[in-house]
């Protein structure tokens, strides 16, 4: 019974989050550019345009993978969201190892993006694809350390336990740098701004450079769904998830998710992207050691005072 409610809540959460993400994604850049505020109708109009546009086939594409990549990406976003509790006991997939499930969604996202860039059988998409693999792999590695830091106080890998362990203090207080690192992962996994190495301007759209019409729409939908998903995971792992006074847990989670989502969209437009080699150096030599330090700090704290 609880699971059925959770499934319904998941659908509501995803569609609300998706609509919000599409709006934020359309409006924030215009706001930053100082341009006229765009209408709420615009994302729908663009979707309609893509639906009425021809789907292009390149020469000798890997048609199956090309079709499957957006599907896989979207599925990963939904599975990732399914292990998030919307309230005490209200979780679609009650998993003892929620963090591991989410971690595999992260890792498989790399596969989905690579498949997408690979299958067009064209150079610029392919460059975008392997460039993304090179950057996303260490980015996801460090997110795992950060998440273990979040799991330590709960002494459990389940998201429900992690939320309950935050009744005394939210994880963002325990490891503030962890939240920043996890937001970086959020940018990487939803292909945005400073971590969008798959489809950037300098590759003329990279992985999407040879994609048109409905396929492009599917990819954009999956990207936004993943943005919702990663925002919800961030809110759960660092901002206490459904915990909060007065309002029902679901509403608190939605509010916190919206906050993270807007922060991610804004960060995607505010911060510059480094050339990939430089970014690689930064991740391996600065951010990864930082995530180790955070883990060490949380561990020490729990040993001494936990």
């Amino acid at each position: 019974m609880m699971e059925l409610i959770a499934v319904l809540l998941l659908l509501v959460f995803l569609s609300m989050g998706f609509a919000g993400a599409a709006l934020a994604d359309g409006m924030l850049p215009a706001l930053i550019a100082g341009q006229a505020r765009s209408s709420w109708r615009r994302p729908i109009a663009e979707a309609a345009r893509l639906l009425t546009t021809q789907r292009i086939r390149t020469e000798a594409p890997d048609a199956l993978l090309w079709f499957l990549a957006p599907t896989l990406y979207l599925a990963l976003a939904i599975v990732g969201l399914a292990v998030i509790p919307f309230g005490p006991g209200l979780v679609t997939i009650p998993s003892e190892v929620g963090i591991v499930v989410w971690g595999s969604c992260e890792a498989l996202t790399i596969v989905a993006v690579f498949m997408f860039g690979w299958s067009a059988n064209a150079p610029l998409p392919l460059i975008g694809a392997y460039r993304y693999v090179a950057i996303a792999l260490p980015a996801m590695l460090l997110s795992m350390f950060v998440l273990i830091g979040a799991a330590l106080p709960a002494e459990s890998l389940a998201f429900t336990e992690i939320v309950e362990a935050q009744r005394t203090v939210w994880n963002v207080v325990r490891q503030p740098a962890g939240l920043i690192l996890f937001l970086m992962l959020g940018l990487a996994i939803s292909l945005r701004g400073p971590f969008d190495y798959a489809g950037p301007e300098d590759l003329a759209g990279g992985t999407t450079a040879d994609v048109s019409g409905p396929s492009l729409l599917a990819w954009k939908v999956a990207r936004l769904a993943m943005l919702v998903s990663v925002s919800a995971v961030t809110a759960t792992a660092f901002l206490g998830g459904y915990l909060g006074p007065l309002l029902p847990g679901f509403v608190w989670l939605a509010l916190k998710t919206a906050l993270v989502l807007i922060a991610l969209v804004a960060a995607g437009n505010f911060f510059a992207r480094m050339p990939p080699a430089r970014m690689m150096g930064v991740i391996w030599t600065m951010l990864l050691p930082l995530s180790f330090l955070m883990l060490l700090a949380v561990g020490t704290e729990l040993l001494l005072w936990g």
Binding site: L28, I32, T52, L124, E201, A204, V211, A272
Partner: protein, 412 residues
């Protein structure tokens, strides 16, 4: 019913335009995209309207036709003061000659684009058919044990398409796949008109050769020109919103308070930190971050810096190799038009031209006849084999010096 509802919605969408910029039109085209109702598509695959702005060279026409065929249906073409003869079939023509000012012309073009899109989306205007024949540039002519062309399973040019082949990396000598292809002349992140033949290993450029120089823009180096260049660099740095803000400043309000706020936002974005020190250094011109700093100073109110003349030896063919793709794109866009045209002069190499040698001749040699024009759209439905769908880069590896129109009898 459902279809008509869709198309009603679609008509409200911003007009997706892919633009090929010709002689001296870049400034005007960039002003056009300040309008939120018009969207600059990153590739022809995302566009519905091909805008050809300004005079084109004779040899660019083939690339324009290929670009046209790479666009998905429904599609239309608008020629804006473009003298391309009949090369684009019966495209819409807009001539701004009768209008008073640039600004009026821009507005007229915008209206024209919007009207075209309305007609396309509602189905009143039929989509344009392919201009090129849909066939491989040459039949399967592979050699080797599996008919693929080169050695082992790699290399060669089956169907006239060059395949990757292992070769040593410039930086560490690791043997990885190299791939030679033509990029340009209307790639959106390239200076308009520039056609490069590059050998890539992954995304590292191993060799670069200028085949066609960039089309000349208004070479005058003033504050608007510098700001436009800044906007292009911001786009490449993943800051399109700030880039757009810069373009809006160029088009309209260039008051010091606007520019000051803009400069602050750019500094806070970490753009300067993002650029590796020493990248793209040219004697007398400084490195990329020095040039970006100059542009930021212009945004801060000082007049554009004048740099000393380029040394004779400076050329893209020596500047680009060793750089990664995204670094190379930043470097390409960091020079003013005059400097760039000197850096991108076509080097006279008559021998190479005649024999069709590649500069690194041991791979990518075309062993079978000269007549492959690996165009972007000789295949059904603009199927294409190209580098990301951008203009003209389709004919990679084809030999210089033979008639590019030879391999297919176009419609015109």
């Amino acid at each position: 019913m459902a279809v008509s509802a869709l198309s009603r919605w679609a008509r409200e969408a911003p007009v997706p335009v892919f633009v090929a910029i010709g002689d001296g039109m870049r400034e005007r085209v960039e002003r056009l995209f300040c309008d939120p109702g018009i969207e600059r598509a990153a590739t022809p695959r995302h566009a519905a309207i091909l805008l050809i702005a300004g005079r084109m060279r004779l040899e660019d026409r083939e690339d324009l036709r290929r670009l046209h065929d790479q666009m998905p249906h429904p599609r239309a073409t608008l020629l804006w003061d473009a003298k391309v003869g009949e090369a684009l079939g019966d495209a819409e023509i807009f001539s701004g000659g009768t209008l008073e000012s640039d600004k009026d012309a821009g507005e007229a073009v915008r209206d024209h684009l919007e009207r075209l899109w309305q007609d396309l989306a509602s189905g009143e205007r039929p989509s344009e058919p392919d201009l090129l024949h849909d066939e491989p540039p040459n039949p399967w002519e592979g050699i080797g044990p599996h008919g693929q062309g080169g050695k082992g399973m790699m290399g060669g040019t089956p169907y006239g398409r060059p395949m990757a082949m292992t070769s040593d990396d410039l930086r560490d000598g690791l043997a990885l796949d190299t791939y030679t292809a033509r990029f340009g002349p209307f790639l959106p992140m390239f200076p308009p008109g520039l056609l490069l033949e590059m050998t890539l290993q992954g995304d590292v450029i191993q060799a670069a050769k200028v085949l066609r120089p960039p089309l000349s823009q208004k070479a005058e180096e003033n504050a608007p020109a510098a700001l436009s260049r800044l906007a292009r660099l911001l786009d490449l740095l993943g800051l399109p919103a700030l880039g757009q803000r810069t373009r809006l400043a160029v088009a309209g309000d260039r008051s010091s308070s606007t520019l000051e706020k803009l400069g602050r936002a750019i500094r806070w974005s970490g753009a300067m930190l993002a650029i590796p020190p020493g990248l793209g250094a040219v004697e007398g011109q400084g490195d990329l971050s020095a040039r970006l700093n100059d542009l930021l100073a212009v945004a801060g109110g000082s007049s554009p810096a004048t740099r000393p003349e380029l040394p004779e030896s400076a050329h893209l063919s020596s500047l680009l190799p060793g750089l990664e793709w995204s670094e190379a794109m930043l470097v390409l866009n960091s020079f003013d038009d005059k400097t760039l045209s000197m850096l991108a002069m076509v080097m006279d190499e008559p021998d190479e031209e005649r024999d069709g040698h590649d500069h690194d001749g041991d791979h990518m040699r075309h062993d079978h006849g000269g007549h492959h024009d690996h165009g972007g759209s000789h295949h059904e439905h603009g199927r294409h084999q190209g580098e990301g769908g951008q203009g003209g880069h389709g004919d990679y590896g084809s030999h210089q010096g033979h008639d590019p129109h030879g391999s297919h009898g176009g419609h015109t």
